[in-house]
């Protein structure tokens, strides 16, 4: 009797393992399809004097066309965020940033798993310090003077009589 009972137990145990495995397999597979957090393809601290920057990121497994979400925050804790991009492109050009620090983070998911977002990437900090207005206005003034001098020169001379090359010899 004992061997028979122990045989049944073993069979029950095997069935339990198969059942559990089949239940947990999709979970494991889904876990496998949650990518590692993207990482920036450049320094995580950038500076800009003109308020724009090219952001690029990568995920280790590049065999999948991951979907990305790029968020911008005014505060390092991302309490107040703007969604800058959601889609398959792994780069984004941001412009129109004002003086101060802007924070960016990105995450990825499998295209077939809307809720399978990875963890957020490391925070990217962009320090924007525009040229001073006095410096910019000075250069603009120089440009205006040079342009006006050139334009006035050509307008003044526009009807200059052309020297007749042959006859002047």
């Amino acid at each position: 009797m004992r061997p028979i009972r122990s045989g049944r137990s073993a069979m029950h145990l095997a069935w339990c393992i198969v059942l559990l495995g089949s239940l947990l397999a999709p979970v494991a597979a889904a876990r496998a399809e949650v990518p590692t957090p993207p990482r920036w393809d450049h320094d995580a601290r950038m500076s800009s004097k003109d308020g724009y920057a090219q952001l690029e990121w990568i995920v280790e497994d590049d065999t999948v066309h991951w979907v990305y979400q790029l968020e911008e925050g005014r505060l390092p804790g991302f309490e107040d965020t703007i969604l800058r991009h959601e889609g398959p492109q792994h780069s984004s050009f941001v412009s129109g940033l004002e003086n101060g620090t802007s924070y960016f983070r990105v995450r990825a998911r499998h295209p077939d798993r809307p809720d399978g977002w990875s963890e957020w990437s490391q925070t990217l900090e962009i320090e924007v310090q525009h040229y001073s207005r006095s410096f910019a206005l000075t250069l603009m003034g120089i440009g205006a003077v040079v342009f006006l001098a050139t334009a006035v020169f050509l307008i003044v001379h526009r009807n200059d009589p052309t020297p007749h090359a042959r006859s002047s010899r």
Binding site: K49, D50, G51, Y52, Q54, H65, L70, I82, R84, H85, E86, G87, P88, Q89, S91, S92, F93, S95, G96, L97, E98, H130, Y131, S132, R133, F135, A136, L137, L139, M140, I142, G143, A144, V145, V146, F147, A149, T150, A151, F153, L154, H157, R158, N159, D160, T162, P163, A165, R166, S168, R169
Partner: protein, 483 residues
């Protein structure tokens, strides 16, 4: 951008590419039959009228940079960026009277470098040739790259294939038809570009209102609306002077001045400026509309095509493909023709083939066109930097040539050593600014330094010049040799 995010099916892209290639090469061969001699090949028989003259100036000035860089300017520098780009039309306006004088002073002239050699001597000529060829090559590279990038973004055609095809097509039809083919295709291309850009702008405006665009920019990209955006206000006159430098010095524009009938140049360039002026505003508007349309811009130089493709779907992508192909071809062919004239007339003819026949020179010209195409291709393959960074590097160099050119054309006492110093010091000052401040101030400083040097040297050390020497034929002695 990658194939996964392309706006057109690659098969459609390849079909379009093949069709456009066959059309342009076919037209090149057709018009090329008119170029029976060297003067026909290089200068279209010096008989180009007002309609063709205006169209070729418009089409040449609407480059890939207008359709792709103007939106990039707007996206980077806001409203001022968009307006800054359209100031390049002032180059055409101010070149209008110059074109007439150039033709009158040098009725048998061929190139801008020839003018510099006769006016200022061999040393100035050497420096000018370096500046001009460097600029020509960077312009070609920026357009070759633009072609490759565009085809990859729009249709998933690999960058190298797209870039190679457009360069090859332009080399082929310029080779067959010379300036006749260039001007003829420019006429058709200018119409395609004007209609295409207007259709895209209307489509964008019917999708998103100006109010929505403004509100979005104010909320998410406020600096783009700032009236005193520092980089943008620096860029206004910088871009204007860059445009002036490009047109005043480049043989692309001088060869057209030589090719137009007497009395046509002034009107043709003036009209071309008027037609060209609104194009960057229309194209730049796409850059400002992108955020309101919720479009992610992966690369700034692709903002225009991506917006058009997103708003108009497949039709828009096809339209952009055709428009940008036309704008690329209309400029690459002009550059190939003008640069080959420059190399042929000012280098080959001077150094190796003084007594060559027309037929021999034409063969040399063809070899030069192929050589320039090949060099451009080799530099384009590794895809160096963005379009703006490639092109604007040449900005200070061409800015430094503005005053030596205009003083040489109008001031009989312009100092030839001053012209040399102006080009050298202007270029150096501009390049230092390029690396220390940025591209948006480099042309400005280059021109400013050059202007001061030319004015001061002419004022304090005037040198007389005999205008007759400008029309003394290709082997004429320079003022230096006479002195």
């Amino acid at each position: 951008m990658n194939e996964a995010s392309a706006l057109l099916d690659p098969t459609i892209g390849w079909i379009l590419l093949a069709a456009l290639s066959v059309i342009w090469v076919g037209l090149g061969v057709y018009w090329g039959r008119k170029a029976s001699n060297l003067e026909g090949f290089m200068l279209a028989g010096r008989n180009v009228g007002l309609a063709l003259g205006t169209a070729t100036a418009v089409a040449t000035w609407i480059t890939s940079n207008t359709t792709m860089l103007a939106p990039q300017f707007a996206l980077q520098l806001g409203v001022w960026g968009m307006l800054a780009y359209c100031t390049a039309s002032f180059g055409l306006f101010l070149f209008a009277p110059m074109a007439e004088r150039i033709r009158a002073l040098m009725p048998n002239g061929y190139t801008s470098a020839e003018f510099v050699r006769l006016r200022y001597g061999n040393f100035a000529w050497g420096i000018f040739l370096v500046i001009s060829l460097f600029y020509g090559i960077t312009w070609m590279i920026s357009m070759g790259m633009a072609g490759g990038i565009l085809m990859e973004a729009l249709a998933g055609i690999p960058y190298v294939y797209g870039m190679t095809t457009i360069l090859l097509v332009c080399v082929l039809y310029t080779l067959f038809g010379g300036l006749f083919a260039v001007i003829g295709t420019d006429f058709i291309q200018s119409w395609i570009i004007l209609v295409g850009v207007c259709v895209v702008a209307i489509a964008v405006l019917s999708t998103v209102s100006i109010d929505e665009i403004y509100a979005n920019l104010e909320r998410n990209r406020p600096a783009l609306l700032d009236v005193l955006f520092p980089a943008a206000i620096m860029a206004i006159f910088n871009n204007m002077l860059f445009g002036l430098g490009e047109i005043f010095h480049s043989n692309v524009w001088w060869s057209r001045a030589f090719a137009m009938r007497e009395g046509v140049g002034r009107k043709a360039y003036g009209l071309a400026g008027l037609i060209w002026l609104p194009i960057p505003i229309v194209a730049g508007f796409l850059g400002l509309a992108a955020p309101a349309l919720g479009i992610n811009i992966a690369r700034p130089d692709m903002v225009g095509p991506v917006v058009a493709g997103t708003v108009l779907g497949t039709f828009g992508a096809v339209l952009v493909f055709v428009v940008v192909f036309a704008s690329l071809a209309s400029s690459i062919d002009s550059l190939l023709a003008a640069m080959s004239d420059l190399v042929l007339n000012d280098f080959v003819k001077q150094m190796f083939a003084r007594d060559a026949s027309d037929e021999q020179l034409r063969r040399w010209g063809m070899a030069v066109i192929i050589g320039i195409g090949l060099i451009t291709w080799l530099i384009c393959v590794p895809r160096v930097g963005t379009l703006a960074s490639v092109l604007f590097f040449a900005g200070p160099l061409v800015g430094s040539a503005i005053w030596p050119i205009i003083a040489g054309l109008y001031w009989q006492h312009a100092n030839r050593h001053g012209a040399v110093a102006a080009m050298l010091l202007g270029s150096a000052g501009g390049l230092i600014t390029y690396f220390t401040v940025g591209w948006y101030a480099a042309s400005l400083i280059g021109t400013a330094v050059s202007m001061v040097v030319v004015v001061v040297t002419t004022r304090f050390a005037p040198q007389s010049f005999d205008w007759a020497r400008l029309d003394a034929g290709p082997h004429a002695t320079t003022s230096e040799e006479v002195a």
